[in-house]
C-alpha cells in the first residue's frame, strides 16, 4: 500500500492501457461520431455533411416521435417492474431455500443465454401461433374452441421482453442477497419482528443495490429494444429503437437517426440519475 491509490504505478498503467485503447477505439470514437453526425446534414443517398445543424434535434419534438419515445419509456418501465416482481421471489428462493442446489438453480437462470435471442424470439412465434403448442394446449384443456390471438399483440411484445430480460434482474438480485447475513434475520426475529416486518425493514433494504443494478440492467436495453417488437409485435408496437433503425436503414437519414440516439441516451441517463437519487443513494450508503 505504498502509493495509496493516487499514485501511478507502472504495472497498473500497463494493465489499463489495452482496455483504454479498446474502449477509446470501439466505444468513445463511435460515440463521438454519433454526436458529430447528429449535428450533420444527411444527403439524399445516405451520406452526411458535418456541420452544426440543430434541426435534427428539433425534429425529435415532432408529436409522432415524442409519442413513440414516451411509449418506449412506458414499456421499458413496465418491463422493469414486471421483471422485479417476478424475479425477486425467485432470487430470494434460490438464496434462502436453494441450499446446496443454489449453483444449479442460478445456472438454470442463465441457460437461455446459451441460445441467440433471435432464435428464442422466433421460437415464441412458433409456440404462440394459431396452430402452436400454446393454442393446442388451451383447446385441449377446453379454455377455448377457436385458436386465440396470442401473438403480434402489444401483450406478446411485453411478454417477450420480460422473458428476455428476467435473467438480468435475477442475477444482480442473487448476488446482492447472497451476501446477506442470515443472522440479521434471526436477530430481527429475536427482537420481535414478524416475518413481513423482517423482510421489509431488514432484507429488502439490504438488497437495494441488487434492485437498483437489476432495474438499470433491464431498463436501459429494453428502452433500446427493436428486435422483439418487430418479431413478436408484427411491427405494430413502434419503439424508439425501431425508429432509429428505420433512420439508419430505409430512410437513409443517419443524421436524424444519430440525433434520436443521442436524445435516447440523454433521456436514459436522466431517468437513471433520477431513479438512483430517489431510491438509491442512502440505501447504497447503508451497505
Amino acid at each position: 500500500m505504498g502509493d495509496k491509490g493516487r499514485g501511478w504505478n507502472l504495472g497498473l498503467a500497463g494493465l489499463l492501457t489495452p482496455v483504454t485503447i479498446w474502449l477509446g477505439l470501439f466505444f468513445l470514437v463511435p460515440l463521438l461520431l454519433i454526436l458529430a453526425y447528429s449535428f450533420g446534414t444527411s444527403d439524399v443517398y445516405g451520406g452526411i455533411t458535418l456541420g452544426f445543424n440543430p434541426s435534427n434535434y428539433l425534429r425529435v419534438f415532432d408529436p409522432l416521435y415524442l409519442q413513440i419515445i414516451v411509449r418506449t419509456f412506458f414499456i421499458a418501465a413496465l418491463n422493469t417492474v414486471l421483471c422485479l416482481v417476478l424475479g425477486y421471489p425467485l432470487a430470494y428462493f434460490i438464496v434462502f431455500k436453494g441450499y446446496r442446489r443454489r449453483n444449479i438453480l442460478i445456472l438454470l437462470v442463465m441457460v437461455p443465454f446459451w441460445t441467440s435471442l433471435l432464435i428464442r424470439a422466433y421460437s415464441w412465434v412458433v409456440i404462440l401461433s394459431g396452430n402452436g403448442i400454446a393454442n393446442k394446449f388451451l383447446q385441449f384443456i377446453g379454455i377455448t374452441d377457436e385458436p386465440l390471438t396470442l401473438i403480434f399483440t402489444p401483450e406478446a411484445v411485453l411478454m417477450g421482453m420480460v422473458y428476455s430480460y428476467l435473467p438480468f434482474m435475477i442475477l444482480p438480485l442473487y448476488a446482492s442477497l447472497e451476501k446477506f447475513d442470515t443472522r440479521l434475520k434471526e436477530a430481527a426475529k429475536d427482537l420481535g419482528a414478524s416475518r413481513w416486518q423482517t423482510f421489509w425493514r431488514v432484507t429488502f433494504p439490504l438488497s437495494m443495490p441488487g434492485v437498483i443494478a437489476g432495474s438499470i440492467l433491464v431498463f436501459i436495453p429494453s428502452a433500446g429494444e427493436f428486435v422483439i417488437p418487430q418479431l413478436l409485435g408484427g411491427s405494430r408496437t413502434v419503439m424508439t429503437g425501431t425508429l432509429i433503425q428505420t433512420q439508419f436503414g430505409p430512410a437513409r437519414d443517419w443524421a436524424f437517426g444519430s440525433a434520436l440516439s443521442v436524445m435516447l441516451a440523454v433521456l436514459l441517463l436522466a431517468a437513471i440519475l433520477f431513479y438512483v437519487r430517489r431510491v438509491g443513494t442512502d440505501k447504497l450508503g447503508g451497505m
Binding site: 441467440s116 396452430n131 439508419f248 430505409p250 430512410a251 437513409r252
Partner: protein, 370 residues
Amino acid sequence: MQRRDTGISRSRFLKMMGAAGVAGSTLSVLSCQPNTSATGGGGSGGGPEEKELAFYNWSDYVAKSTIPGFEEETGIKVTQDFFASNEDLLGKLQAGATGYDVIVPSDYMVAIMIKSDVIQKIDKSKIPNTKNVGSNYMGLSYDPNNEYSLPYQWGTTGILYNKKEVGELDGTWDAMWDPQFEGEMAMLADSRETIGAALYKLGYSVNSKDQDQLAEAEAELKKQQPLLRGYFASTEVRPLVLNGDILLGHVYSGDAFLALSENENLDYVIPQPQATRWTDNMCIPNGASHPDNAHKFINYILGADVGAKLSNYTYYNTPNEAALPKIAGALKDLPGYILSPDVFQRLEVIKDLGATTRDYERIFTEVKSA
C-alpha cells in the same frame, strides 16, 4: 427498405439463422481487411488476376450447384458473404469497403449506387450471355442502357391467399382492406411496397411524389392497420398463410410460389389495377479486386442451364429467356409465374424518390403506430 428477402422454406430456416450469424461476423472481419490485391480500382491493372472472387449476395439466394459449377469451370475460388438489406449494402460500400467483386442490389438501389459512384461500368463485350436476357428485363429506368447492371432474378409483389377458405378474390387491392378478413391479413414491413399498395388501390403510381396523393394513401393505410395481424418480411408472411394463421398476405412472388408448391389450397394474385415488379441485379463495385473474374461470373450466371437451376432453386422469376424452357414444370405452371403481356404491362418498377423517401418512412411510422 429491405426490398427483397429471399425464399426460405421452413426446413432451411435454422441453417439460415446460422449463416446470418456467420455472415455478420465474417463481414466485419472482411471490411476491416486491407485490400491486399488492389490492382487499381478500375481493373485495368497489369497482370492476370488471382483465381478468386468475392460474391456478396442475399442469403439463400443461389442454387446449391451454382458456385461449385463456376469453380469447376473456371478454377476461380468463390467466397460468399451475405447482406440483409439494400441499405446495409450501400452503407458498406459508402464506408469504403473493398473486396467485393459481385454484388446483387435491387433496382432502385442500382440507381442510388450509380449516383453515389460506388459501382463501376460493366464491359458487356466480356459478357456474351447478355444476349440471353429478355428485352423486358433490359433498359429499365434505374440503368437505362445497362451500363452498370445486368439482371439476376426478378419477381412481382402480390397477394398470397387461401382460396379454399375465402374463395376466388376479385383481383383488386381492395381485398386487403376487406373488413370480413379482419385479423386474417398481413402486409409487408416495407414502406414502399405497403404505401405502394395503397397508392395502387387509389389508382395512383407507386412512385408518387404528390403530397395530396400520399396523404390519401396514409388515410387508406390507417383504415387498414386495425384489420391486420401486422407488418412482416415476406419470408415471415409465407408460413403465416401456410399454417393458416392468416388468410391473405402481401408477399414477393418467390415466397408465394414456394407456398403454392406446398399447399394446393393457396393462390397468388397480381392485383389490379397495378402491382410492383422488382429486379435484383448483378453489379461490380468500384473497389472490386477481381473485376475480370466478376465479368466471367456474371456471364456464367446468365448461361441458360445455370440460370434455370438458379430459378428452380430460388423460386423467383428468371430474366434469362434462354433458361425459360428449362424451368421446372412444377414452378412454371404456378399461377403468376409466366405472365401474359397484358399482366406484364400493368407492372410498375419502384424508383428511388430521393428526398421523398423520408416522407414515405414518416408516413409508414405514423401508420404503424396509429
